[in-house]
Amino acid sequence: MHRIGVFVCHCGTNIAATVDVKAVAEEMGRQPNVVFAADYPYMCSEAGQNLVQDTIREQRLTGVVVCSCSPRMHEATFRKAAAKAGLNPYMVEIANIREQCSWIHKDKVSGTEKAMILARAAVAKVQLNAPLTPGTSPVTKRALVIGGGIAGIQTALDIADAGFDVDIVEKQPTIGGKMTQIDKTFPTLDCASCILTPKMVDCAQNEKIHIYAFSEVESVSGFVGNFSVKIRKKARFVDASKCTGCGECVEKCPMKKVPNEFNMGLDNRKAIYIPFAQAVPKVATIDPNYCLMLKNGKCGMCSKVCGANAIDYKQQDEIIEEKYGAIVAATGYNPINIDKFDEFAYHQSPDVITSLELERLMNAAGPSNGTLVRPSYLNKQDDHNAHPKKIVFVQCVGSRSTCSEKGAKEYCSKICCMYTAKHAMLIRDKYPDTEVYVFYIDVRTPGKLFDEFYRRAVEQYGVHYIKGMVGKVAPKADGTLDVQASDLISNEQLHINADLVVLATSIEPDKTARSLATMLTASMDTNDFFTEAHPKLRPVESPTAGVFLSGVCQGPKDIPETVTQAGAAAAKVIGLLAKDKLVGNPCIAHSDELMCNGCSSCEKVCPYGAISYEDKEFRQPDRTVAIRRVASVNPAVCQGCGACTVACPSGAMDLYGFSNNQIMAEVDAICR
């Protein structure tokens, strides 16, 4: 038999002004199994909580109902208080008579009546509450970082620094990501490689960090603390343990006409290649689409010259399975495809380039060895026309646009204003005879030293900033480009005869993020950026427990922000891995195997994959044994939404804390 205590809070006058709290307490005192009912000015105060605790002890209460503010406010408070007095915290129910009663009703009679009904429903429910104990699960003390750009590198270094093992999976042959392609960084103009490559080396040398380069995540199963991940190590056709990265094979490879993705296709590489000099791991990779040996079985030059005997034409993809406690998505971004932006003549003229291509053109390790030349003159850099005299930058190409059919994005890509200012400034600094125009919708430069940076480009370096959009770029017969644009401030149409047009293209999440999100059961927004568990309060966690977000995969951001977030994600991972056991939410689904049909309906609606089936033996009434397929819920994975309970026709699946019985009892109490 239950012994229920009911406590009615005045909340000063917040409740008491509209609800006759004494009458509610008296009425509750008359409810079956209620052995104690009282009102009190402030239940959440120390004294109020003491009242609950003392009453639990004195009256040997088995259940507590607090009629007060929203359970979202103080349910946890009263549960803790009950637990201190030795009552299971899940034997506490809250009747919300403030937000959902006294604050919205002016009439004391109906307010009191409603408060009584709400209290009655809570009393009816609490009688069916069961004491619950949160389950625990162990934690594998190893983290996986998916993506080896600056975000992934920083996260991995920070996790390793705390003493935990961490693996980086990177789909490219080397870690480093987009930052390796960038020449200088704003607002300090220091060289990107100079600050990034030491971090790459740190990763390689850190004994806590293992790099799976040229690898991709194949599948993810398990749950927070206990993920099991299959990683596909793609065949490089080079034995990474033997290769010394000497580059002899690259030197001798006869296949020279492979577009070099590291230089954005502005020059060529060999069929066997090391993406760039500081690659980590510094291991050669054979591109099977171009390798003559792999395609036709003829050549074998690299194998012949390799002193380490590392070439292995028969190498196969390898699947590695590893267990992790936490997973960090750091899948980064790519510039959008601008094939459909015909107006900028990107495909008509080599001298219309994207900003990332410009980074390569300005980089000392790039196709022009750092000399700014028009791409159409890449092979004749000595020509007096090679150097562009007039450069037009177009901002917001594909950003802040509703032309989704062209692949444009509604969001602001955030980094373009700053890198365009950087480009303009660098060019004016190095080539003062060059005229530079920047067309913009708005210049957005919030951030430490950012606006100063942009102002410097305008005021000190004389970059022509023009508010307005470029309508059309038309290649002319003399090889120059006719840029037609509008100047919105002076309200005129402009024609600029440019030698080079640079498009600040929008950025979008890497294409692999979507399939990864499915594997991780992590949610994404309509733009395929990962969603946060809470956009403000939990910005580096995904709603899926144990999955964390680092870098641009969560939203556009620059390098300092990425590093900040990477560190924050690492801190969350460390916090998780530092625990020996995870304590779950006990309000989860559970299946009565005697009722279960094994029909799989519940499994189909479970967003977390928490339900599995097993064949179990059951003794029948006639003493024979029957084997039946029955569902079981993984308590560490279930989040307690209850979708399965409704999908289950027999009612075998039920939810602790919100059981069929409990909700029915509430309905009955309200409708009585």
Binding site: L594, M595, S601, R629, A647, S650, S659, N661, M664
Partner: protein
Amino acid sequence: MQEMIDRAKELLADGTVDRVVGWRSGEFSYDITPGVFRSAEELDESFIYNDLCAPNLSKYLIKESRKEGKLLVFLKPCDTYSFNQLLKEHRILRENVYVIAVPCTGKIDVDTIKDKGIKGITSIESDGETVTIHTLYGDKTMPKAETLGDKCRTCKSKKHVVYDEIIGEDGEVNNDGARFELVEKLENMTPDERFEFWRNELSKCIRCNACRNVCPACSCENCVFDNPNSGIQQRAAVNSFEENMFHLIRSFHVAGRCTDCGECTRVCPQNIPLHLINRKYIKDINEFYGDYQAGEDAMSRAPLNAYTFDDCEPGIVYSRGGKA
């Protein structure tokens, strides 16, 4: 019928199966019940397949297929849909069942004959075209088409969707939508008329559970109405909730799973057209989420276990046509 018996004997003899699930006569010769046959003699003695063999045998396989040995079952087109649906729900062990598909040209519904004022029926014969009804008051004949219940009159499919072997020619799926005619008729009534219709029908219910027991979709180990933790008190007398809501809840539980085999209506001793409730769900599902036939395959996701981002809102019920 003889072909079926012969083939069953062969399969019994060569050890492929050790028993046969088919039909035999019940109390009256027109009252057919499912039966299990273990020998050639039993088959010769009482195995029947004729225009009166309406019972859907698939549900019996839930228990039978979990017993030792392999069994042979004869399935009509209708029944194969139920069979598939049960496979999808992991209720039948496929490897223990050998399915022979048998054709069906519609089954005689005794209640339909009785509704025509024919009493004292002793036996019914059919040559496939004409039905002869022997009664205490002499013989009556009528075209077979007139003896079919709503279920067979508006047959959804003469095609078998699953089998190991087939006797006779396979038929075609019928998509003419005729099976929704009665549902549409109800939809076009006013709510008051609909309410009167259903109150009139459902108040006849004696809660005998025949519909639930025969329904291949109602295959729960334990019905929710018998589950003390479901919040429904069991005893009908103390709780009119179950009494009132039984058919609403039952139909919701089979929504998206009901293959429209019509067994519920066929077995109802009070002749309540229960299948119209299920057909309403089928019709709604088709209209809201695209055509879906439960049991057509054993893989697809049931409509209530699936969703799309742009599903219609529940408000569509208010804005949709039909009388207010």
